[in-house]
């Protein structure tokens, strides 16, 4: 079968000492840097990219891929331990992962994240190997109307994440959409909402908002508490998940993998959408949805698996269509171009060893990361024991420097402070930040696809419903809204009847 031939070719390339070493270096570097709160995959890869220029193309890309996965693992570690999402998709990991850590189950959380990610990565790798060409056909069927509807569906799904009020979550999403509009409008070149500040013309960087809303406000909230925070030290417990946690997490891992593998292919926001969708679905399917947000293993395992599977399958549009699915992929395209390789459909034919070697080393990279990270779980958990009074200045410094290095801009740092204040206000008002971040990421794409779809039909709104895929996506969104809204409506009505 061709499938096995390809894999054999891939492994023969990936398993050379040279490439194995580069993969290992990449994974280690990625993890170490990714663990630091404040440094996510994009700045890390951007910083380490030049190192790969001197390497032969396959080795360079393998190392980059290792760095990419390493930062994902490192980012999850930070999200769980310190509640700071290192990258877009870790936003969802923060929700239950950090709570598990607060409950003394940090080790279990980290292990579940590692194993779930590995499993998802392996499955997704197989999928990439087997289905790369046919899967791109699905991507072709998606026009702007379909993308718009998919994102609407994703945003509605995100509302399910809110453990609080439905309408507040919708408001936060809208706020995210508006913040995403800050900057230069792609289609017209007009600058919006910049208030005369030059640096705002490129828009507000996601990492700035994420770290401000989560990291900085968390520090403020923690310092407020006179009787300090995580009593983790007293409740460390075993470093690995217990039977029940595994039982609760296992199905979530499977579902997360499936969701991530499929959604990750769609260019743009694949990994983050998969993480949100997986979480939402787990919450809906669970027999104890009220435990979500308080440290339910499935709430951690599902998005972790989904975003890893999504990250893997995000390589598909890159390698087959030459379309980078997110910022990291764009950097990869840059790396490929430096090595004189045009990413696109012909890569499979012209450089099969590169293509399949990269895919095989993805799997090897995942394996290395599990081996690296599981023993390290003990060390990370010990980090939590450091008294907060020493921890928080370090977190503060790393986050600030991390924000600065995004664009070498102190304006970004000032924005970081502003969002810290905003995050603090949100905490006091009981507004959840996660939906805002999703809105921020998807906003520009939502608008662009909305605009394109309407341009194609000269302003006819019915296109969103009459095109079959788009129509069905919107229908699912509507059903979701009704599912969410009806129970609360019913309760509200019962309450008012009782009061009367």
């Amino acid at each position: 079968m061709e499938f096995f031939d390809h894999l054999m070719l891939g492994f023969s390339v990936a398993l050379t000492m040279e490439n194995l070493t580069y993969a290992l270096i990449g994974c280690t570097l990625g993890t170490l840097v990714g663990v630091l709160p404040g440094l996510g995959p994009v700045p890390t890869i951007a910083m380490l990219l030049p190192i790969t220029y001197v390497l032969p193309p396959t080795a360079g890309l393998i190392m980059l891929a290792g760095i990419y996965y390493g930062t994902q693992y490192g980012g999850s570690t930070t999200a769980i331990l310190v509640k700071i999402p290192g990258e877009t998709s870790s936003v969802v990991t923060v929700l239950d992962g950090h709570q598990m850590a607060c409950n003394g189950r940090a080790g279990a959380a980290l292990s579940l994240a590692a194993v779930g990610s590995f499993f998802a990565g392996s499955c997704a790798t197989l999928m990439v190997a087997a289905f790369a060409p046919p899967l791109t056909k699905i991507a072709f069927a998606f026009g702007p109307a379909e993308y718009f509807s998919l994102m609407v569906l994703g945003l509605i799904g995100a509302v399910v994440l809110a453990s609080g009020s439905l309408s507040k979550a919708v408001c936060m999403i809208m706020l995210g959409l508006l913040l995403g509009a800050v900057g230069t409008d792609i289609n017209t070149g007009v600058v919006r909402y910049d208030f005369g500040i030059i640096e705002l013309q490129d828009g507000i960087d996601f990492a700035v908002v994420a770290m401000g809303l989560f990291g900085l406000s968390e520090i403020m909230a923690n310092l407020e508490l006179k009787d300090l925070r995580i009593k983790v030290a007293s409740k460390i417990g075993s470093l690995y998940p217990n039977r029940q946690e595994i039982r609760e997490a296992a199905p979530a891992i499977l579902r997360g993998t499936a969701i991530g593998s499929v959604l990750g292919i769609l260019p743009g926001g694949g990994a983050i959408l998969s993480a949100f969708a997986a979480y939402a679905i787990e919450k809906k399917l669970s027999k104890e949805p009220e435990r979500f947000g308080k440290g339910h293993p499935a709430g951690l395992a599902a998005p972790e698996s989904a975003n890893n599977a999504g990250a893997q399958s995000a390589f598909i549009p890159l390698l087959t269509l030459g379309i980078p699915g997110n910022a990291v992929m764009a950097l990869m395209v840059g790396a490929m171009l430096i090595h004189n390789i045009q990413p696109g459909p012909q890569v499979i034919k012209s450089h099969p060893d590169l293509f399949w070697g990269l895919i095989a080393s993805m799997w090897i990279g995942n394996l290395m990361l599990v081996i690296l990270n599981l023993p390290l779980v003990g060390i990370w958990v010990k980090l939590l024991k450091i008294p907060y009074m020493f921890l928080f200045p370090a977190i503060l410094v790393f986050c600030t420097i991390g924000v600065y290095t995004l664009n070498n801009s102190t304006v970004d740092v000032l924005l970081f402070a502003v969002f810290g204040c905003l995050g603090y206000v949100f905490v006091k008002f009981g507004c959840e930040a996660a939906p805002l971040l999703l809105g921020l990421v998807l906003g520009p794409m939502l608008e662009e696809n909305f605009r394109r779809a309407l341009m194609l039909t000269h302003g006819d709104f019915s296109t969103f419903i009459t095109r079959p895929i788009s129509g069905s996506l919107l229908a699912i969104a509507l059903v979701l809204v009704m599912l969410i809204a009806l129970p609360s409506l019913r309760n509200r009505r019962n309450e008012t009847f009782e009061e009367a």
């Binding site: 970081f416 204040c421 206000v425």
Partner: protein
């Protein structure tokens, strides 16, 4: 069925304070964005959207949804919530430390700005004493230098520049 005083009664019964202030905030922000769009940007039509079209409508929807939040906060069956006390001291110290870093970096370099940031931030912690804060600051200065400048090769203005 006299409901003449319902307005006053509803306000006095305001239980869901969190949602009340959230709703108010959302309405204000939504209207603000829409107003800006309307005044400063071209709206265009659905077929030919101007830069202001999308934010204008999203802003209005935000204001609309925000008013729903507001209304439900004032409803009779609302759950009771409180807005936690704002600790202005802690919040402003932390924010100030970050802002200080941003202001000092280009002029006084990385080391000084980290030092200043850590010292100011330490004032926000009730456990961290000044002496320990200074030690922590020095440690962090060293660590960031080794990691970011030497290890990762990033460039920062390191020392004060005097012109």
């Amino acid at each position: 069925m006299c409901r003449g005083n319902m307005g006053g009664a509803a306000l006095m019964k305001l239980k869901n304070r969190q949602d009340f202030w959230s709703g108010l905030m959302f309405v204000a922000i939504g209207l603000g964005f829409s107003l800006y769009s309307w005044l400063k940007l071209r709206l265009g039509t659905a077929a030919e959207m101007g830069p202001g079209y999308f934010p204008f409508w999203v802003g209005l929807v935000l204001a609309g949804t925000g008013s729903i939040v507001l209304r439900s906060a004032m409803a009779k069956g609302a759950t009771e919530t409180f807005v936690g006390k704002f600790d202005w001291r802690v919040a402003s110290l932390i924010v100030a430390s970050v802002v200080l870093w941003a202001i000092l970096l280009p002029h006084l370099g990385l080391f000084v700005s980290i030092f200043a940031m850590v010292v100011v931030a330490s004032l926000a912690s009730h456990e961290l004493r000044f002496g320990t804060a200074v030690l922590a600051a020095v440690f962090l200065m060293l660590f960031t230098y080794l990691l970011f400048v030497r290890g990762l090769g990033l460039s920062f203005p390191l020392w004060p520049t005097f012109r």
